[in-house]
Amino acid sequence: MRILTFLRQVLDAEESVHVSNNTVALENSKLVMDTMDEYGVEEALRLREGGTDVEIVALGVGPTRVQDALRTALAMGVDRAIHVETDVRLDAIDLSKVVAQVARQEEASLILSGGQQADWDSHALGAATAERLNWPQATWTSALELKGNTLVGKHDVDEGSEAFTVELPAVVTTQQGLNEPRYPTLPNIMKAKKKELRKESLEQFNVTPSLKFNGAEIQVKQRRNKILDGKDVPAAASELVGLLRNEARVIA
């Protein structure tokens, strides 16, 4: 079988965000593979190591920098990668069109991608891709096993979690808790340089952006920042309660 893992190169969550010209500026920031997608790459590798005959293909759509994420995936153990190059910003609905077409071309039977995008905070890619392919989906998966043609797993729902089974082909979205992604070793990084990274252009996928992006603004909420020293415990406790009652007026 073939697994398609979809990945994105995004701002490292630990980095601060800068906005210029109404959009988030990434030029001088550290970028990494979206951690939510990384769980998908790791899970694909584990399914293969579990004894299933699997080829793993990583797919990235976006500017040249996406190749860094694809190289990382290759170094982690993915077999080959496809980069659909474009500088056009696409939302999850648009992207799903590319992912679904590549999944068909590659005859993939499982697609793994992150539950939420660390840059656009979107949850939509997995479900949108599943709908385009008429496949079922399991989102926010925290445990996954492959038994024959059946995925057995656990995923988060509105309140609590559910155990599920679903027949392949299917789309699974991944999250923290599913596994601990491995670090690429130096020999594997060297080996990855020889692996196939195929470049394709966006034109053949017939995608037009469905949204217009009109601006971005950093959320700055003025905070009072009154931080008390807790060395004198009763005095600090008393002052804090006083501030909450009389200044902020948020408790009785």
């Binding site: 965000v17 988030v24 905070d121 890619l125 479900a127 923290q176 971005a216 950093i218 008390l228 009763p234």
Partner: protein, 316 residues
């Protein structure tokens, strides 16, 4: 038609639905506000929803007893198509955000996700939503005869039910088979007041020391304040608290009047679930903890000493 999908639990319309009613009335799209109730044994929900809309469509079917993304998407898309909906409004719960992309694809419509504002003018709808783990507010625009929108809970004011009661209609649906088979459920509904609806939230992180420490300090303080209880991902993973209490990127988003972070250092993933709280209070041993940067008030000190002193002070 303006189509609202009614969210409900235990036979009651959820607060998030009353918030969507506010959005519906302000969206600028034409036609009657139509509330769609999906479920099994939902007569009480339908009756309550009759105060929210101009008409109520009810699909009361055994097949809909349990939520499924494919069934919900099929039902909503069918009703939206038959009623020529100009906008489909869905609550931005985890499940709402899971099936709304399927609805958008079925309707060949753009999707505005997790919006915190929505304005209509002419053919276009302009919305704001958070990006970069809720650190940036972005403005996006969608056009077309129909737009699918998921609405972030807890942002819009809840509409009051209207005095006149809308007419109810039963609808027939062509539902697909259920492909994701649910074989077990871990319901983790806390007995406390709802985390997303509470005015005061007390949350604990690793700095509480242990599960016992959480009970003593976080629950102790929450009891004193009549507050809901939240937790960080780290201590949910450690098994100290149920998942239903998790606040952050992979848990719930809260924006109470006051959020008290006890022993929480403030990873961005946690902050994205609470950084819109009106007042933030932090208690942490480490003065350099990132949580203090977004706090209105804080005490640098040992949780085991500071929190009992605060409880004591509140009792006075």
């Amino acid at each position: 038609m303006i189509l609202i999908v009614v969210e409900h639990t235990n036979g009651k319309v959820s607060k998030s639905t009353w918030e969507i009613v506010t959005v519906a009335r302000e969206s600028g799209r034409e036609g009657p506000v139509t509330a769609l109730v999906l479920g099994s044994n939902v007569a009480s929900v339908a009756a309550e929803a009759a105060g929210a809309a101009d008409q109520v469509l009810v699909a009361d079917l055994p097949a809909l007893a349990q939520y499924d993304p494919e069934l919900w998407a099929a039902a909503v898309a069918q009703i939206a198509t038959e009623g020529e909906a100009g906008i489909v409004l869905i609550g931005g719960s985890r499940s709402g955000r899971e099936y709304s992309p399927r609805v958008a694809i079925k309707l060949n419509a753009p999707l505005l996700e997790d919006v915190i504002s929505l304005k209509g003018s002419g053919d276009a709808l302009t919305a704001e939503h958070y990006t970069y783990l809720a650190r940036v507010t972005e403005t996006v625009e969608a056009s077309g005869p129909v737009v699918v929108v998921s609405v972030k809970p807890g942002v819009f004011a809840a509409a009051a039910p209207r005095a006149e009661v809308a007419e109810q209609f039963d609808v027939d649906l062509n539902l697909p088979p259920r492909r994701l088979q649910v074989t077990g459920k871990t319901a983790e509904r806390s007995s406390r007041i709802s985390l997303t609806e509470a005015e005061i939230v007390v949350s604990g992180g690793r700095g509480v020391g242990s599960a016992e420490g959480f009970t003593q300090y976080v629950e102790g303080l929450a009891d004193q304040l009549g507050a809901a209880v939240g937790a960080t991902r780290a201590i949910v993973d450690a098994g100290w608290r149920p998942y239903s209490e998790q606040v952050g990127q992979t848990g719930k988003t809260v924006q109470p009047k006051v959020y008290i972070a006890v022993g929480i250092s403030g990873a961005v993933q946690h902050l994205s679930g609470m950084n819109k709280s009106k007042v933030i209070v932090a208690i942490n041993r480490d003065a350099e903890a990132p949580i203090f940067k977004i706090a209105d008030y804080g005490i640098v000190g040992d949780v085991g000493q500071i929190v009992p002193a605060i409880i004591e002070e509140l009792r006075k």
